[in-house]
C-alpha cells in the first residue's frame, strides 16, 4: 500500500527525470520525457489538493448563486442545496461544472442589468478560483 500517493508520484517523476532520461538516445525522447516528468509532478499536486480545491470552489459558487437566485433556471435549487453524493472525482467534477454553468448564466445577466455588485462578486470568485488552481509544478 502507498498511503501518500502524491509523494510516490513525485518520487517516481524524479527518478524518471534524473536517472532514466539521461540514458535516452534522441533529443525528442528526452524533451518528451522531461515534459511528462513535470506533468506527473503537477498531477501529484492535483492528487493531493484537487478534490479540496474543487469543493472550495463549489462552496464559493453556492454562496454567490444563493445570493442571486433571480436569474437561475427552475430546478437549480437542488444543485445549490443538495450535498455531494460522494467525493469521487467524477461526482465532484460534475457538480463543479453544473454550478459553473449557472455562474456563467448569472454573470451574463449581471452584465445585462448592470449589476456591478454581483459582477464584482463573481470576478472575486474567479480570482479565488484561479489562485486555488495555480500550477506550480511546471515552470
Amino acid at each position: 500500500m502507498i498511503p501518500n500517493t502524491d509523494n510516490a508520484l513525485r518520487m517516481l517523476s524524479q527518478r524518471m527525470m534524473a536517472q532514466l532520461l539521461p540514458d535516452l538516445k534522441s533529443n525528442y525522447s528526452i524533451s518528451d520525457g522531461f515534459m511528462i516528468g513535470l506533468l506527473v509532478n503537477a498531477i501529484a499536486d492535483e492528487m493531493a489538493e484537487g478534490i479540496h480545491r474543487r469543493v472550495e470552489d463549489i462552496e464559493d459558487m453556492r454562496r454567490i448563486l444563493k445570493s442571486a437566485p433571480d436569474g437561475l433556471p427552475a430546478g437549480s435549487a437542488a444543485l445549490l442545496d443538495a450535498p455531494l453524493e460522494d467525493l469521487r472525482l467524477a461526482t465532484v467534477n460534475e457538480r463543479h461544472d453544473a454550478l459553473t454553468r449557472l455562474l456563467i448564466l448569472i454573470q451574463t445577466r449581471a452584465e445585462e442589468t448592470d449589476d456591478v455588485t454581483l459582477q464584482a462578486e463573481i470576478w472575486g470568485y474567479l480570482r479565488r478560483h484561479a489562485a486555488r488552481h495555480v500550477i506550480t509544478a511546471v515552470p
Binding site: 525528442y28 518528451d32 506533468l39 461544472d97 456563467i104 454573470q107 452584465e111 484561479a130
Partner: protein
C-alpha cells in the same frame, strides 16, 4: 504511429522520385514542440552532396486543426519576399507515402529558436528585427502576394468579427468543462468591437518568440509555423506576439526580448500603420481568448485519446490555467490594464 525508419525510407523514396536522383538519409531526428505537425530534420545525401530538409507530417491530432496546404501555400507566397521563410519544396496529400499528408522544406542551418541564453544586447537586436519583420509583413499587399487564392478575403469591417466567431466556435465545440473566464471575454469582445482594420494584411497567426530561427548575429533567417495564417487586421499579429504568456517571467518584455513600447514603435515604423491603444486593447484580449481556444482544443484532443503527445496535455492544462489568469487581469473590474506575469 510511424517510426523514424519509416519516415526516413518514405522521404528518401519520395524525394528520389521527385528529383530523379539517388537519395539516401544520413541522419534523421524528430523535433520536439509545436505539435501542430510532426516535424523531422533529415540530413540527406543527394547524388553525393549533403543536403538538409525538414519534413512536416500531419499527426492524427494537433493543437490546431488546419490544412497542411495552407502552411505550404503561405511559404510559397512569402518565400520570394524579404520576409525569410524556409524554402518550400514539395507537399503531398497521398496517404500511401507516409500515412498522413506531409510537406518538405529546405532546412535552415546553424540557427536556433531559444532566446534564453542571449545577452541583453543580443535580445535587443533580435527583438528589433522581429518587430521590423512583422511590420514589413503587415505593410505588404496580401492580394499582390496571391493570398486571395489561398484564404478567404474578409472586408476591413468584418475581419475582427470573423476571427472572434471562429475561435468562439472552437471553444464551444471543444470545451470539456464550462469556461467562465473565456465566456466573459467573448461577451466583452462582442460589446466592444473594434473599428474597421486600417488595412487588410497577411496575418501569420502565431508570430511569437520560438516560431522563428535566428543566426549567431541575431538575424532572423526563417519565420516558421504559418498554419494559422489568414487575412485580417495586422494588429492581430502584434497583439498575439505581445501576449504575456510568451513573456514568461519578463512581463515588460515583448516575447522576452525588448520593451513592449519599443516593439510597438519598431512595428509602427516598419508597417507605416498606427497602433491605437484603445483598439489594441481589444486585440490583446482577443489574443488571449484565441490562445485559450487553442489550449482547450488540445485538451480535448488529449482527453479523447486522439492525441497522446505530452505537449497536448501541457497546453490543455498548464497553458489554460495561465491564460485564464492573463484574461482575469485584462477583464476583472479592479485590473483594467497593465502588464502581468504569465
Amino acid at each position: 504511429m510511424i517510426t523514424l525508419d519509416e519516415v526516413s525510407t518514405a522521404t528518401a523514396g519520395f524525394l528520389a522520385e521527385q528529383w530523379g536522383k539517388a537519395v539516401t538519409v544520413e541522419a534523421i531526428e524528430k523535433i520536439f514542440g509545436g505539435a501542430s505537425r510532426e516535424t523531422y530534420r533529415l540530413t540527406l545525401n543527394v547524388d553525393g552532396k549533403t543536403r538538409g530538409v525538414i519534413v512536416r507530417r500531419d499527426p492524427p491530432s494537433s493543437l490546431i486543426d488546419t490544412e497542411r496546404e495552407l502552411e505550404y501555400g503561405a511559404y510559397e507566397r512569402i518565400f520570394p519576399t524579404d520576409i525569410p521563410v524556409p524554402e518550400p519544396l514539395f507537399v503531398s496529400n497521398d496517404p500511401a507515402i507516409m500515412q498522413q499528408p506531409f510537406s518538405v522544406m529546405a532546412a535552415i542551418n546553424d540557427c536556433q529558436t531559444d532566446v534564453s541564453l542571449l545577452s541583453p544586447e543580443q535580445k535587443q537586436q533580435l527583438g528589433r528585427h522581429k518587430y521590423d519583420l512583422l511590420g514589413r509583413l503587415a505593410a505588404r499587399d496580401p492580394l499582390a502576394l496571391g493570398f486571395d487564392e489561398l484564404v478567404p478575403v474578409p472586408s476591413l469591417e468584418e475581419a475582427a468579427a470573423l476571427q472572434l466567431a471562429y475561435w468562439e466556435g472552437v471553444i464551444l465545440d471543444d470545451e470539456i468543462h464550462p469556461q467562465p473566464i473565456a465566456q466573459a471575454a467573448i461577451r466583452w469582445l462582442k460589446r466592444n468591437m473594434p473599428p474597421p482594420a486600417q488595412k487588410l494584411s497577411v496575418v501569420h497567426g502565431d508570430y511569437r518568440t520560438g516560431n522563428f530561427l535566428f543566426d549567431t548575429d541575431c538575424q532572423i533567417q526563417g519565420v516558421l509555423d504559418w498554419e494559422m495564417c489568414h487575412l485580417g487586421d495586422p494588429l492581430e499579429d502584434l497583439a498575439w506576439s505581445l501576449d504575456p504568456l510568451w513573456s514568461w517571467n519578463d512581463p515588460g518584455l515583448a516575447g522576452r526580448l525588448i520593451p513592449i513600447d519599443e516593439a510597438i514603435s519598431v512595428w509602427e515604423s516598419a508597417s507605416g500603420l498606427v497602433c491605437d491603444p484603445e483598439v489594441f486593447r481589444w486585440w490583446r484580449v482577443f489574443a488571449s481568448l484565441k490562445a485559450i481556444a487553442i489550449w482547450i482544443s488540445s485538451s480535448e484532443d488529449f482527453e479523447s485519446g486522439e492525441g497522446k503527445d505530452s505537449i497536448l496535455a501541457t497546453a490543455g492544462w498548464v497553458m489554460t490555467e495561465r491564460q485564464n489568469r492573463i484574461l482575469l487581469e485584462y477583464l476583472a473590474p479592479e485590473s483594467q490594464s497593465g502588464e502581468i506575469e504569465a
